[in-house]
Amino acid sequence: MKTDIAVASEQPDTGRRQPGFAALFSGPAGRSLGLVIALVLLCVVGVITSGSLFMSFDNVMTILRLASVIGVVSIGMTFVITGGGIDLSVGAIVALASVWASTLATQTLATDTHWIVMVTTALLVGGGCGLINGLLIAYGRMAAFIVTLAMLAGARGLAEIIAQKQTQVVTVDAFVDFFGADVLGIPVLVVIFALVSIAGWVLLNRTTFGRRTLAVGGNPEAARLAGIKVKRHTTLLYVLLGLACGLAAVMLLARTTAGTSTHGLLYELDAIAAVVIGGTLLSGGRGTIVGTVLGVLIFTTLTNVFTLNNLDTSTQAVAKGVIIVVAVLLQQRVAARNGST
């Protein structure tokens, strides 16, 4: 017996497409549109205050090169946050990986064999730290905040011990040559960032892994009862971010030609900020790679504009803080209008 009952929801205003201007901001592309506008505004400010200096190809590449390291970390962070987690230890992992990959022993081995040894080392160290984080969080049932806070302290401490608080200059020329080169005029670092972004987008939006990440972040209990191995998945998310940190360490080694335990300071804050202003929900269940990339670009462009105008880093920090608050406030209003918070 089929009965013809009304199916109107209890909250009739949710889930409907709003007509007009608001609709532009409602879709996943629309949320990014706000960020694009912000980025364009920043560029306009850059052009007005610094003119051709800002718009020069070299300067644009400088911005992108600056963005690439933190960008790779932020892509990884997007996965962890979308999956309902948080990682405060990324900066420390970057430092540890950079130091480990540039010790005398590693570099000697790299000189004797191939520079890929340094890359492998950094990735293994990063992935290993991520694995420890993931196992403790998923199987040890500890809070992500606490575990990664411990890793933040521990990894940077270990980096200091290994480096004996010295800066380790990279002497493997082939390594520096490879990562310092240009491909069709575009720095290799920027190419890596672009590739990681594309891979991240595909992974999040087109694969079962990405779909499960959204489910695990959105409702872990429902995901578990739907047969998804939530603990294993959570662990993999932290490993993924660890690998991203390892890669970032490689890029940083190439850019600065040195490994030190002070690399990656405050990366955790920059990455989380970029992810959040990009539109990924801090509580998990919704993530956007495009938003994260735009978030990273906004922050680095901001830094660039400030630097070109000889403004100090303290002013920059204040501006960053304001941007984070304003961006998240705007997003909340858009989300509230869509009824999909």
Binding site: I5, A6, E10, G15, T207, T208, R211, A222, L225
Partner: protein, 516 residues
Amino acid sequence: METSTETRLTPEPDATEPLLRMRGIVKRFPGVRALDGIDIEVRAGDVHCLLGQNGAGKSTLIKVLSGAHQPDDGTIDWQGERIRIIDPQAALDHGIATIYQELDLVDGLTVAENIYLGHERARWGVVARADANRSAAGLLRRLGHPEIAPATEVGRLSSAGKQIVSMARALSHEAKLIVMDEPSAVLDQHEVRRLFGVIRELAAQGVGIVYISHRLEEIREIGDRVTVLKDGHTAATGLAAATTPTSEIIRLMTGRAIEYAFPDRPATPPSGEPMLAVSGVSRPGEFRDVTFSVAAGEVVGLAGLVGSGRSEILETIYGARRSKAGSVTVGGRRLRAGSVGAAVAAGVGLCPEERKSQALVLGESVGRNITLASLTRFARGGFVNRRDERRAADEQVAALDVRPSDVERHVRTLSGGNQQKVVLARWLLHDCRVLLLDEPTRGVDVGARSEIYTLIRDLAESGIAVVVVSSEIEEVIGLSDRVLVVSDGAIVHDGPAAEIDEHAVLDMVMEGKTAA
């Protein structure tokens, strides 16, 4: 207020000014008129029942009453005076308290702290704990539950206990009107009895009660008057709760004369090789030595009180809890204990008790919720083929008649019945052979229930072994081929549904006795 008891007993409609009179209440949301002219009168000492299907406007109406929503039109008279309820605090100040379905208690605080949350008993900013505990104890005594200690942490209380604490909180605001949104939904029959006792006591003290429930039989028992809402209108108000015929109430709710009915059972009960065989499964403290089997095409119902172990049995079969003894086999193959993955791979599906928190990813679309358990089927090398996925989801939505039939829609915007269909669709898509249903019609309105029942029977006829758990004994009996009665963690009866009635089951459930 001293005459209130008499007012209740002598039905003289306009002898006294009603406690609350709402006239022509209109509330618009973008694109919808959620309330379109509601009239309702509640008298002191009355238990006034509010009926209506999901979407009829019950929730919106009580939100207007509690100050959470502002009406766009209409008037509210409170004890003869025109008032505006500008926010929840104003409602409380007037003495209107609302107890929502999702109880808004803080688990980490004590009973007394919860009762006085927001209006703490304090002296110079220091909470007067002893004073609060003493007053809380007084309120709990008044509610007939002196056994709840004011210093207990609320998180340790049962749902029923929390319900009582919420009522005590309402009383602490000296509420003259208490609105209760489906208070019985989380209670078993025994606890509902006690709740009714409390409600009667409050009504006798002159408190007006607005009582919302999907269960007609409860309304018959506890209600004085009934108001039926339909599509934001008042379909009828002031009906006598005890005497208005059921068919009349259903007609008012649906606009048609229907009664929800159970689909016919097959004449010959399905038999043959058991699809699901549970043998000697135990979990100390929850249930022991549970043995039963379900044939393909058979519906087996588990009846029992909340806490009898019935939900735990389902979750253990599913691997969400690890059994300490015994075995579960599906299609002749033994499942690894405590592994949801193994159960799902073997074709077992669970529609859990708490649909929203355990089954659905609310922020995701209908389609993605349906395909969640079968993603690998649409994936090659980890990449999801979205066209195949979409087609499969569309097919399920059409087959189960999910409305609106839009797979892109957020699942949170669907009604309870349609959300349940989404969960069922997930397992149908997974080609499950054993379907475990825990409270399949909780939060599903009367009209949609028949649909769910028919669906479950259709699924069984397609060869799925179905196990149903429900607090509503009528539902277990009506839906099943065979009924198992669980009492105190053990199966005390196993027999054909046609040979047992509600009273017999109740007897066994309450007494733990085996049928002679």
